[in-house]
Symmetry: C2
Subunit: 216 residues, 2 copies
DNA sequence: AGTCGCTTTGACCAATTGGTAAAAACCACG
DNA sequence: CGTGGTTTTTACCAATTGGTCAAAGCGACT
């Protein structure tokens, strides 16, 4: 029984079922939050009986914890890729677009995260005050460096990052609202969003006049 | 018994208790969502017994419905105030600031709304496709008018509105995250946010060159 | 074919959940 | 100070919830 910390080699069935469970759980948790989700719902969605589900995961919380842990890694990746040696404006825009793509490709993950935040991040606050804060601090420093070098309009780098998070995740988290107002679109309006946000951040961050640092 | 549609004059006690219940319910629902909230939690927070609570409201859903109805009204107010006859850039900025103030002063309402969206808006989709859409359509047309008159940089007005919603509500909905990264501040960093967003939208929406419409 | 370990099931539990019924307590008003 | 309506409590309920347990089923390998 895999219930006590991975027994050596996970069987093919084990990997397969675990994946099905996590996928189903992502559906349910991202929609209803931790408290609002039930094991029966998850088991149903995964095509298993509840006891069978609990054969693969110790508890409801264990499933949720697993999801959150996996999430944070991929979630922070776009920011990690922000290159201190790149061209500032291009880097910011590319970061924003990567986040937007994440919202498009992983909306459930975005909503899972949002749900956790709304609840006061009871099971993820450590990571927020740890990993996440550290990474944001680091990148904020990079951005501030660019600004001080005159290669980017001066603005608070933290709030800049927040605004990128907010605007991009909005299309996943508030998808229903967007669809309600703009109607259903094949790509969920991500193309238009990308264009709008590119423009907003381009004109919002282009430095006023002469470039200090760049080549010619 | 007030349980069957308001009996004429609501007693002082009735008004008082109903308010306490709604306030407590706002706390609980905004944190845990509809499914995740329990009547016991709400009753506790309101300082009542569960049966006593159910003396004032028919059901859990009735409480939630009441909250959502009241919410939508105040929620759309900032947008309603957007004045077609005002100075475009000032109007947009003022709207953004009003929304930001709402996030600061009514964070629970913001989270209640967010929770409902995350769940797919099962009990509010009518209003979204009705009232909300109508208002947004109307104001988007106003904004597009400003853009076509050269009084505002050209951009998709819908996505502009979405970005304002996203950036401002972020400070309420993701408050834990903001606090985790920036530390606790008296005003929850709303001053800095206001400054950043003002700058972003000002430079992002200022029309490129000659003003067409305005007085000299 | 047998068997050993992995997987699944059915029956079950205690706690919690939304909600009810009726009696008791309270309160304003004549 | 009593009385009629309002408010609150006590005692319940059936359904759902997260979770357990032992028995049954299954599958790969000898």
């Amino acid at each position: 029984m895999p219930r006590a910390a991975a027994t050596k080699t996970p069987t093919r069935i084990q990997r397969q079922k675990t994946r099905a469970i996590l996928d189903a759980a992502l559906d349910v948790f991202s929609q209803h939050g931790f408290r609002g989700a039930t094991l029966d719902q998850i088991a149903d969605a995964a095509g298993l009986s509840k006891p069978n589900l609990l054969y693969y995961f110790e508890s409801k919380e264990a499933i949720h914890r697993t999801l959150l842990n996996r999430l944070l890694d991929t979630w922070l990746d776009p920011l990690r890729q922000l290159d201190p040696d790149g061209e500032p404006l291009r880097e910011i825009r590319a970061y924003m677009l990567r986040k937007l793509e994440m919202s498009r490709d992983y909306p459930r993950e975005s909503r899972l995260f949002a749900n956790e935040m709304l609840q006061g991040a009871p099971r993820i606050s450590d990571e927020i005050n740890g990993q996440l804060k550290a990474l944001v601090d680091e990148k904020a420093k990079v951005i501030r460096g660019w600004m001080q070098a005159g290669r980017l309009a001066v603005a608070d780098p933290y709030h800049l990052i927040f605004s990128i998070w907010a605007t991009t995740q909005h299309y996943a988290d508030f998808e229903v609202q967007v669809r309600g107002i703009l109607g259903a679109a094949e790509d969920g309006h991500f193309h238009d969003a990308a264009q709008f946000l590119t423009q907003l951040y381009t004109s919002g961050l282009t430095p006023p006049e002469g470039r200090t640092g760049g080549p010619s």
